[in-house]
Amino acid sequence: MYSYTEFDNNFNQNRVDQFRSQVTRRIDGSLTEDEFKPLRLMNGLYLQLHAYMLRVAIPYGTLNSQKMYQLAIIADKYDRGYGHFTTRQNIQYNWPKLKDVPDILQDLANVEMHAVQTSGNCIRNVTADHFAGASTDEIEDPRPTAELIRQWSTDHPEFSFLGRKFKIAITGSPNDRAVTKAHDIGLRMVRNNKNEPGYEVIIGGGLGRTPMIGKVLRSFLPRKDILPYLESVMQIYNMLGRRDNKYKARIKITVHEHGINKICDLVEERFIIQRSSFGGFDQKLLIKLEKAFAAPIYINEPIDSYNKSYQSDPLFRSFVDTNLSEHKNLNYSIVSISLKKHGQTPGDATSQQMRMMANLAKKYGHDELRISHEQNVILPHVHKSNLYKVFNELKSVELATANIGLISDIIACPGMDYCALATARSIPIAQQIAMRFNQLKLENDIGEIKIKISGCINACGHHHIGHIGILGLDRAGVENYQITLGGNSTQNTVIGKSLGPGFSYTEIIPAIEKIIYTYLDIRSSNDETFLETFNRVGLTPFKKIVYTPSEIINKSTATFANNNNESFASQEIK
């Protein structure tokens, strides 16, 4: 893992001191609220519905036990004993006081962390595949490039006052777990026909009120050109992007209005002179960064005990089958820790849970943790001989829920419970869906499905790209939830299709239930996932059932649910 140089530490300390002075100057009137706003935002400080909210960066989702431990301490010392992990691999504290924020930033700086550029109209925290460096399908670890981009974008003098926020994501695997096509810039590490490393550069993706799938700007960019090329894209966007209407200011609109070909010509023209401003230090640094992210020194132990526990403990077996992913070292596993226990707020972790995850990473995980955009925590390198111990310790703090990728593993934005922009609640909807299907004991039978919920049109909950997307709106003072089906967040990114008229707060859970029963009813086999079924049959069968009054179909679904409960029960006995 990357550890700060003296330069990084000096920068970070200087930044904390500056923010401390900015807070003082806001209080003494040197800075107006309008002037202070962009300055506090680029240090991660929002004004929310009830209080300030501090968003702390976890660059490319990678951290170690010391950092996770510090996040727990901050939650206890300055907040209410918990934090919320977000879809951009950050953590948010919901209740800090303005006067404490400089001290929090100092505590973060002490462990090489910061809240720099987690909000505001600047280049945000760079995100990456949460399985980076561990998965079997990776061409290359994206994190050295992500760290290079972090350094380049940090306090970049040209791009701290852009027309709008700017998000960059990178994946090193053809199986995209970083949602690169829904970012302002998405980078996919590729090889050309001479097997030389480089990047496919995608621009203009984004969700929000105008969802767009990113377009390829350059199908192969040689590795050495990454920073000057990114700089050229940013310069064209900074000058050309609209500033008259904040809803039309993202680069996706710039690309849409000018066309990808014109943007491409402008970027390539700019790139020629931009390249001359780099002298090679950046590439030398990249080589150092690659060393910093080298694989851990794997241990070699027998794994008989793991096999034994797998056979003897059904709860462990369920955890293994659901929450583990293949590691490139056969004797290791990638462990996903669900922050989605049924009925809990998706993405929240208590300080006690954070401490536990930190300890487990230190004892059994080569001191590494990841935050996923799906709001879970990952132990990327756990030797199989340690899995049972990890499972049992997780269980002791209610972190062993076996639901990764299932219907209760929901992405939800904070919604009206916290957010000043929200038009509806998201968290209670997520909680109720999770509780309902847990009660029905259908979760495992339904299998892989991604539900994503946003409490307003800004789409922080990624609803457009959920297999089932739920968007909460305000209709004349009443919450109204619209459903989209068939969205996809992988390399085959698809924006979901609208099912039809929305549902009230009390109608939405029954509507989701009908959709799921329809799927279970019409899937071609138990192996056909929800998304596959949807892609085969389209909206019509779902529409028909969902908009048919309940009393007509109640009977048939009740029968189905009963049958299904029985079959599930019999599975368990086996």
Binding site: P157, F161, Q235, N238, F281, D282, Q283
Partner: protein, 143 residues
């Protein structure tokens, strides 16, 4: 009278040339060997100015609002295209933006008396060490 901010703090404006707009400058006989001062908005295309660099001694770029960062990219583009003359940012620039402006190639900032009163010299001087703690300068060094 506006205040000029440099690395040394506040100064009064000693520049006595009259500022021309680009339209006006283009009306002047190209054979004239005089040097001119140019006032441009932050939406100017730097390539239009490049052929005129030899005739310009100062370019003043307007910052109508401190949240509009186009003037930063414009300055850095002008420098990359080879402009060596004086470069001034004028208007709503905050003390907190001083380092950014210097890093993008500005020599000085011109601010109103009102802004200078509200953000006194000390606050600008605390940002005058613009060369240190700069990621982009480090990354652009020679290998």
């Amino acid at each position: 009278m506006n205040v000029i901010v440099t690395d040394n703090g506040f100064e009064s404006d000693t520049w006595s040339n009259i500022f021309l707009t680009l339209d006006k400058l283009l009306l002047i006989n190209p054979k004239s060997t005089n040097k001119f001062s140019l006032d441009v908005p932050n939406t100017t295309d730097p390539k239009e100015l490049a052929p005129l660099f030899a005739r310009i001694s100062l370019i003043r770029i307007a910052f109508l609002n401190s949240t509009d960062g186009r003037g930063f990219t414009l300055a850095s583009h002008l420098r990359l295209l080879g402009y060596k003359g004086r470069l001034r940012a004028q208007g709503h620039v905050l003390a907190d933006q001083y380092t950014m402006a210097r890093r993008c190639g500005y020599d000085e900032i011109e601010i109103s008396i009102e802004l200078a009163d509200r953000q006194p010299e000390k606050q600008w001087l605390s940002r005058s060490d613009w060369k240190s703690n700069c990621y982009i300068n480090q990354l652009k060094q020679l290998a």
